[in-house]
């Protein structure tokens, strides 16, 4: 996939530091003009979103406190234009359905070049 030249703001929400690190490394290389911030929980994400105002969000599901789906609902309520992709190890059919009814993306972990490319394509609406 070619590099994305346009600017944008990405919020990475994941309670695993290692996963955040891998996700950030991919997007920094692929979308060098993007401003990237991280949150370790859904609550942190909501707090950060009010000032950071992300255009794009990658969201884990199982995190301490609120679930990724709850956090995604709140982010979408504040800004219906935000593009959210769930990036999760919870690949049960029930989780996929939760993403489908919200019209948000769903990509299975681990965060690899292939899975993150899939997430990026969803975020860009490609």
């Amino acid at each position: 996939m070619e590099q994305v030249a346009t600017a944008g703001k990405l919020l990475i929400v994941d309670d695993s530091k290692v996963s955040r690190m891998r996700i950030r490394a991919f997007f920094s290389a692929q979308c060098p003009a993007w401003d990237i911030q991280e949150a370790g929980t859904g609550d942190e994400a909501i707090a950060l979103a009010s000032t950071f105002r992300p255009d794009y969000v990658t969201m884990d599901v199982n995190m301490p406190g609120m679930s990724g789906f709850e956090a995604a609902d709140l982010l979408l309520m504040y800004n219906p234009a935000v593009r959210v992709v769930m990036l999760t190890a919870n690949i049960q059919e029930s989780s996929r359905k939760l993403a489908a009814v919200r019209h948000i993306g769903f990509v299975a972990k681990p965060p690899t070049e292939a899975s993150l490319t899939q997430a990026l394509k969803f975020l860009l609406g490609a």
């Binding site: 309670d15 695993s16 530091k17 290692v18 996963s19 690190m21 891998r22 199982n62 995190m63 301490p64 999760t88 190890a89 919870n90 690949i91 049960q92 059919e93 029930s94 299975a108 972990k109 681990p110 690899t112 292939a114 899975s115």
Partner: protein, 205 residues
């Protein structure tokens, strides 16, 4: 505790076989190398028997990642690696250019995430095949030994000494790194019975 029939044993092995295959694929993507799998050995047994059998097989200190999955069937899923291998695994996951100090710092976090992804792969397969839905807890990382692991986790899950252990033993080996691991699932008696009922429904269509 109801013993498994030959057909149930076979079906359970097959369901887990597919789940572990998926988990191996996931692990292989995370560490960028081939993962060799043994044929899964599925036994529904008591904690005591499981502890004895497991200790005979593995007596090194283990890094265990545990998650509780609740729903119609509740189970404690445990992924274990010999402790001496855990840094090596983390290194394969994050890359060799990370300094040792930083690597040690992120060891716990990385092991939790490895467990989270692998256990979810197996549980999701079980969920999708048997039509069960699970809510997973956050992963916990502990250092344990083979002779106490099932008693410790059974107690932590409030199962006492009476819990069945659905012992799924699978050796997986990262060929270049000589890392092997084990998976086990602890279920109490009502959950074991519900699992078997779902399995029977799956077998008989």
């Amino acid at each position: 505790m109801k013993a498994l029939t030959e057909l149930e044993q076979d079906a359970l092995a097959e369901v887990f076989n597919i789940g572990v295959g998926l988990a191996a694929d996931v692990l292989s993507q995370m560490v960028n190398e081939n993962v060799r799998l043994s044929v899964p050995l599925v036994e529904l047994t008591s904690q005591e028997v499981a502890s004895t059998q497991f200790h005979d097989r593995e007596n090194r200190p283990l890094c265990a990642i545990r998650q509780t999955y609740s729903g119609e069937v509740t189970t404690d899923a445990i992924l274990m690696f010999p402790e001496e291998n855990s840094l090596e695994l983390v290194r394969s996951m994050v890359g060799s250019d990370i300094p040792l100090e930083q690597l040690t710092e992120m060891e716990q976090d990385a092991m939790a995430e490895i467990g989270n992804i692998i256990l979810n792969a197996v549980i999701s397969q079980l969920s999708n095949t048997l039509g069960l839905s699970f809510e997973g807890s956050l992963p916990e990382v502990n250092m344990v030994t083979g002779d106490t692991i099932f008693a410790d986790f059974g107690q932590a899950a409030g199962l006492g000494g009476q819990a069945s252990v659905l012992m799924l033993t699978i050796d997986f080996e990262l060929s270049r790194r000589q890392v092997s691991g084990y998976l086990a699932f602890l279920l109490d008696i009502p959950s074991s019975e519900k699992l078997i009922a779902r399995l029977d429904r799956f077998i008989h269509g």
